[in-house]
Symmetry: C2
Subunit: 338 residues, 2 copies
């Protein structure tokens, strides 16, 4: 098979690799329908995370089952399946508690920018659609496997409720999907913090009611202006930097909630500030599996269209161009077609 | 009037002070029924918080209304009242959101170890009992004004539910009241972390089902042993040190909740650790006013007996001995009678 391998910052190559094989009876092999580049892939690409030895990349996928291990009977060859960037048995205590991305047998995906993929914990991870979905819905279903699931989790962790006021920090694909989630959950006001015109436009189309371009203390002041001086009920932190976390915490009202889903890089939360803020904080890798059936339904029914976050489509072999375009902010998110 | 004044670490004196006066039309003056020394008073007493100029101390109180300002009509002279360490108008957006301890007009109490006290925001802060309660219930009602309200808030912030498993970090008066709260909220298992025999005993009498004496990584391992390797549903952090916060966060299961009510001193929460833990975190000064009517009822009906946290009773003029006894851990909490 062929897939992406990162060698060094800025150096992603499309290479021939060993075909994936069933290694455990709980594995499945899928043929990739579509895959993509994630904002979090840019951390190592930008040299902000160690790379170590060259290794495959990618953790978002939808595809067709080609082969299953002896213990997998929930999906069968030929079916179209959606999974999650974190695999889970869906039976352990943490899975039963709804935190499948903290499964006791969790394995994070990392080889998905390829034409074939081995899926560990296939039984608990993959959800098959009843029929093969039309090709135009593949991007939306692909989004569900990570960014849409993560945006949903951000809104869930931030306890978005009907009628509430929501701030979304971060205008990447996850932030934009957070806008979709907040809208679906009935938020009355959705304030998207964004400086990039195409992203502002999509945020508004997804349901944002206000755009705030300021950042830092000015951004906080602007949010307070828009919320009677009190702050928002729910804030979705979809970046992962210390600045974004501070922005999020200071934008929430006393008693409000911050859901943080940007993988934190050098983020420390000051205990005293959090204490006096009364803000609730919860985050982590999204338990996508919990939301899969519902989100797949919303995409298939046309109720939501998270596939629009892909504003660049490339053949899989041009994966390196996808990284480059996202790094240079020429694209929100690059779809890759094998 | 006479009351406690702190001059320096270890130096609390009982002095004659100016009688309190109505300064604003929203004030009331009460004659103290009973007051006490708080665990948080020990931070400056131990030199761990700056003291500055000598100043009065104390923020817990029940008493009899002597005088009210022109805008106060919810209580009247002669009534027995319970308040909160944080005063609130109970009408602003934060109060209406249930976070009265973040009232836009909040003033923290700080002169309550005295025979008379000025109460700002009296209308929104004080709750009068229907009749004068019997003297033996005064300590319980006093506890409601801070430590019982704070223990309740810790359990509420940690989302304790019927049937859940709860860990209480800290065996001071707040931690012990946290045990009461967890029990009242229907927790099935309540694990108290305590090394002090009299406190262990009271924790068990209040409803704790297990005592863990280990701390740090050993303490976490012990909690995991007791919870099928997963961790507790809810953890009440009732200390305020970095060690206690770490203990709390690591004792919660993925998706569990930590309520933190110990005033944080040099506590920083690592963003990455919090992220991968999936633990929800909320804390702050307890919104005691939200709970007052309910907690007063529970004390008056004899359903809960938080007054037992007072294991030393002293005349108010011996307030310095109360600080000393608590500092030396000879007492859990010192009651002071004017």
């Amino acid at each position: 098979m062929r897939g992406a391998v990162i060698h060094a910052p800025g150096d992603v190559r499309f290479e021939t690799l060993d075909d994936p094989k069933i290694l455990k009876p709980t594995d499945a092999i899928i043929r990739t329908a579509v895959t993509c580049v994630c904002g979090s892939d840019l951390w190592p690409y930008r040299g902000l995370e160690p790379i170590g030895a060259p290794h495959p990349m990618g953790h978002e996928y939808v595809g067709f089952v080609e082969e299953v291990g002896s213990e997998v009977n929930s999906v069968r060859p030929g079916q179209f399946v959606v999974g999650s960037f974190a695999t889970s048995d869906n039976t352990c205590a943490n899975c039963l508690g709804g935190f499948q991305s903290n499964c006791l047998h969790r394995e994070f995906m990392g080889t998905c920018q390829a034409d074939h993929i081995r899926i560990p914990n296939a039984q608990g991870t993959l959800v098959a659609t009843d029929e093969q979905p039309p090709e135009e819905l593949w991007p939306g279903l692909l989004a569900v496997s990570d960014v849409m699931g993560t945006g949903w989790w951000a809104a869930d962790a931030a306890e978005v409720e009907p009628g509430s006021t929501v701030v979304v920090v971060g205008d990447g694909a996850v932030g934009l999907c957070g806008v979709i989630a907040a809208k679906e959950m009935g938020a009355e006001r959705i304030i998207a913090m964004s400086r990039h015109e195409p992203r502002q436009k999509l945020a508004l189309e997804y349901g944002a009611t206000d755009i705030v371009t300021e950042r830092g203390e000015e951004g906080v002041a602007r949010i307070k202006d828009l919320t009677d001086g009190i702050g928002a009920d729910s804030v979705l932190e979809c970046v992962g930097t210390a600045q974004a976390m501070q922005q999020a915490l200071r934008s929430a009202r006393p008693g409000g909630n911050v859901g943080f889903v940007g993988v934190p890089h050098d983020v420390a939360v000051d205990g005293e500030e959090l204490f006096y803020s009364h803000v609730g904080l919860r985050g982590g890798p999204a338990p996508v599996r919990r939301y899969l059936p519902d989100l797949i339904d919303r995409v298939l029914s046309g109720r939501i269209d998270p596939g629009r976050v892909f504003d660049l489509t490339l053949p899989l072999e041009q994966v390196a161009d996808g990284y480059k375009a996202m790094d240079e902010r020429r694209a929100i998110k690059a779809l890759l077609t094998p």
